[in-house]
Symmetry: D3
Amino acid sequence: MRLLLINPNTSAGVTQKLDAVARVAAASGTELVSVTAPRGVPYIATRADAVIGAIVALEMLSARDGSFDAAIIGAFGDPGLGGARELFSVPVIGLAEAGMLSACMLGRNFSIVTFSGALVPWYEECVKWHGLHERCSSVRALNEGFATIEGVQNEKEQRLIDLANRTADEDGADVIVLGGAPLSGFADVICDRVAVPLVDCVVAAVKQSEALIALKTRSPKAGTYRQPGAKSSIGLDPFLCRMLAGIRE
Amino acid sequence: MRLLLINPNTSAGVTQKLDAVARVAAASGTELVSVTAPRGVPYIATRADAVIGAIVALEMLSARDGSFDAAIIGAFGDPGLGGARELFSVPVIGLAEAGMLSACMLGRNFSIVTFSGALVPWYEECVKWHGLHERCSSVRALNEGFATIEGVQNEKEQRLIDLANRTADEDGADVIVLGGAPLSGFADVICDRVAVPLVDCVVAAVKQSEALIALKTRSPKAGTYRQPGAKSSIGLDPFLCRMLAGIRE
Amino acid sequence: MRLLLINPNTSAGVTQKLDAVARVAAASGTELVSVTAPRGVPYIATRADAVIGAIVALEMLSARDGSFDAAIIGAFGDPGLGGARELFSVPVIGLAEAGMLSACMLGRNFSIVTFSGALVPWYEECVKWHGLHERCSSVRALNEGFATIEGVQNEKEQRLIDLANRTADEDGADVIVLGGAPLSGFADVICDRVAVPLVDCVVAAVKQSEALIALKTRSPKAGTYRQPGAKSSIGLDPFLCRMLAGIRE
Amino acid sequence: MRLLLINPNTSAGVTQKLDAVARVAAASGTELVSVTAPRGVPYIATRADAVIGAIVALEMLSARDGSFDAAIIGAFGDPGLGGARELFSVPVIGLAEAGMLSACMLGRNFSIVTFSGALVPWYEECVKWHGLHERCSSVRALNEGFATIEGVQNEKEQRLIDLANRTADEDGADVIVLGGAPLSGFADVICDRVAVPLVDCVVAAVKQSEALIALKTRSPKAGTYRQPGAKSSIGLDPFLCRMLAGIRE
Amino acid sequence: MRLLLINPNTSAGVTQKLDAVARVAAASGTELVSVTAPRGVPYIATRADAVIGAIVALEMLSARDGSFDAAIIGAFGDPGLGGARELFSVPVIGLAEAGMLSACMLGRNFSIVTFSGALVPWYEECVKWHGLHERCSSVRALNEGFATIEGVQNEKEQRLIDLANRTADEDGADVIVLGGAPLSGFADVICDRVAVPLVDCVVAAVKQSEALIALKTRSPKAGTYRQPGAKSSIGLDPFLCRMLAGIRE
Amino acid sequence: MRLLLINPNTSAGVTQKLDAVARVAAASGTELVSVTAPRGVPYIATRADAVIGAIVALEMLSARDGSFDAAIIGAFGDPGLGGARELFSVPVIGLAEAGMLSACMLGRNFSIVTFSGALVPWYEECVKWHGLHERCSSVRALNEGFATIEGVQNEKEQRLIDLANRTADEDGADVIVLGGAPLSGFADVICDRVAVPLVDCVVAAVKQSEALIALKTRSPKAGTYRQPGAKSSIGLDPFLCRMLAGIRE
């Protein structure tokens, strides 16, 4: 199985984190390729950023069409996920989606804990888009600055542990999803200091990719994710343009 | 009042339709500027198209920052609306949003009627994003091809009238929102042949823009639509890059 | 355009406030007539009061049938709105409805802030009746007495500013709807001291009336707001009796 | 126990039906008084009618304050119920409410079946007001005229049986609530010809009144149904005016 | 009327409490039989306990098939209620259900107050199963140990009064349902010291049983509660085995 | 990884089907043990059956406590799942849950298709219990008898294909979950003849088990699934009794 992990942000350090965690989680025989966005923002925080992340995600996937059996959109919030599912016939999985669906098997209610309040509105919209708000107790974040996106999990380790425990206690969360690609691998570090199970979204995404591959589903010939008709375009990324035009590898 | 109407699609013919209808609806003293997307797809139908429409909408607005008092995103489905509200301090209104909110004052339940089944999944997601699904009876579309996007309302006139009446009857819609920029001006043509009130989204969007201007609201200093902190970016449209960097006219 | 603004309460001072704000908001060419309830209660606070306000609203509108192109029910909570829409073929808009729908374009979530806790239960029912609870973060009120209904906005100015800011902060409201006719014009006074945009419901209602007029909708011949069949009655207000009997100007 | 059954409609024939059925259902020792509205409409069908029914219900109850231990508002749709609960310290029960809550113990989902399509919008709003829409499969009605309100159950007997069976089959209703005071006693007539249990709302309302009396609850000193403060009024029914003024028997 | 009250827990002391309260509430002519579970747990707190309570409830009812006109499952949370309704043609009522439905007539929102935090998750699932979460403000419990299940209401009297008042105040509950069979009869003891009405679930269940009997409904021949086809089984309680096999008294 | 698959029904033929499909799906290194219920019913169809399946599931798991790293409850509807999660510190996954969560990554909306109408009410309750009703378009079943539970997929092959295609078309399902352990392996047989992707719940459950193991979560020390305190019991299965008593391997 060839698994493509795209980081729709431009931070190569975050890609390295994602790749390292994914590599450990992947079953033997999985060929993992991780790539960093060639354009965009260092990390996606807001709805505006998510618009950018979405187009970049589609471009990155288009450029690699035919070279992967499943793909992970490596940004919590899952930018471009719906569009990617229309354009590509292989499974595409979002980091947030994989984390939340996995969390549903570990508790009645999950909460999302992340490192920056700027992420909360978009994350909340993501929960609703997935129709999982009934299972989500809260989205909680630290309300303070941080030095670097790559180092945020070390810098805020105790603060995030405290927030996770407070969230479990105050919001009735049975399980906590650590939100945001920069927190990849962090669950493993802090799990003994948080009272409820923690979900690492990258691990979840890798295993959910394997699950979808194992289901051996056919591409939809009906339904809202069937491949749309060919469409012309102007001034778009050439790979995306090809995908829209219905040209497939 | 300077009102900017952006068509995030590349079809100039649709922009002309939008502009003509908007011009009639606008209060005296409104200075209307309508522009067509310089890049993108001829019309937005799918979720993938909407990703493109969203980035194009942000680029078009960014290129004109400071030149308008309010803006309309002239595509039903409101691509990029959330992001636009973060980046711009003046009101930005979506076509779908304006049409649906106006419909809420004309009936208990509205339905959306449009000309192509390809639009339905995205429109349904749009209704949910706006939190208006409790008021929406259905999203209905013709399931057949059409010749040109500019001419679709003429070509399908009777078919759309029949669908609108059937939707009112079968789905319990008190009012019908005509969905899709290519149907601009169509409500006026068919209103005497449909049993329930019809909403023309362009008219609605112009009047809602005026309503927001009249409210003289201050830019938010808190809440999820307050302007985000400045952010660097790579390889993006220069105007959008400036907006993200916090440089304002 | 002839716009009728009825105050279903007996406080003429509140009518004057409503009228003054509405007059400024109205487009040139709008002929505004504001009237005070000839019977009822000084201000509507409870569900029982709302029953009275509803019948008084229908009576006031019936007495003026044929003399207006659109009407505003000038009490937050929108007493009698559904019934009015059945009986009258021109647009009828509620103060709460106009404020809430306008707020939807200014933020993800709105809260309603008002001056008396007695109003909260009815306001909450109003939000649900409109199907807008998913967009409404909270309904908040001062829990204390006040001297006069006409002077309450002056008397409680700082207390309401504080409550509005606290509501934005604690309840995640992106925008605040100032609830209650006695707060007409208050948004303009305090807007620079509240961190999120404020909606003045009277301004909103005037502009929404203009929006509905601009849509030039036909009266429904189907749906739940089509005019009901003629009905006899006993002992009711003669104008309302005429309306029920299907006699129209 | 003194039980007051008010018919907020002016049809004495319907009151007789209600009274006859209630009398059989009442426990020994219950003193039942049934009264017909002195003013209003012959039967409540629309939202506008419901406004009238609500004020008439409050007037009828006010005129008899102190003479009853519990009261039933004998019109499906429960006009004035919320207001009545504020003003009166004894239990007040609605016909629709009693029928629906009882139905919840007889099936997963109930449907409401009634004799006139004009009633459906108001009934649907009633279901939502009570927060019971998750349990309600549908509100269904005959779409045809009828000769007299008192005779409608005889005239439409077979048509209503057919509709009830069709509703159970097509809408997945486990139990059917017969909606509308004119259908009092009808469940007993047709129950052997309908495939699912039927709820007679008058029987339900009498037994629910007894249930509330048996609970011996104290009047609320807090919460949204505590008695509101005394309020002046102008031009209202003298008994209602007294109640609003806080004067109690 | 022969009314069977089963306590699916093994605590005879709780059965005595239930029986004593039920006996007072029952109408004259009601023959009440109360029985204690012959196997199971002393009291049901968790979801695992509820699985046990459910099978025990079905066994206890099966052993007495034909000997009762209605039955009450005397444990808050209503273990086995859905299954019992399928197997038995007479009304079966749950303690939680009866309490919550009765509470709906006493306030807009109810809260459930109980003595042990261990009960909360199951109670919350019970509220959702009944589709009554829109009416339920909260489920609240003391977070502390207690000496004996039979004596808990005396031991915690003041603590529960304080919690009930705090719940009314903080959660906006108009009425409080006292949750848990061990709190039978407690409402009567504390009602003058709590600001909102209290519901005793046993009283409610007895009166709701009488209400269902008064409705004289026929057994469903359609719908999800019609009696299932005969089914073989292995190793089950002999009475339950007979019921599943379709053998009825 | 030692994976326990329990079939809470007494049909060994169904266990064989489950085992065969699970064995293919399992990663290398997984040690799979499949067991058939020693008591209960041949297959779980109704809510009453589900009560039996739930207790049998807890008994089967208790008897094997300490011998598995994860367990699958091999009946669609997930009997006893909540209770099992409380009692066992290793992951326990339900067949329905695994199928539905996997389906969420393959489409906007899923439908459940099964072979017997008797299953529908319980399946619908299962969807709601998991809080996934917003993602579920419908639960559909054949309405006809079948010869044997083991042979039902062969017997009804074409009928189920037709139903699946009709469900996709009429209910807007993007993906179909084949419901019921007897349909194990059936997706693979019919996938080329159904227009939308199909989910085989056993495959899904095996892969979800592996996903949860990969997450290496700690047992909850807080939240609603933390292990309950030790509890005495009477007359229960000795292994379950031990689990309740807090005795662990």
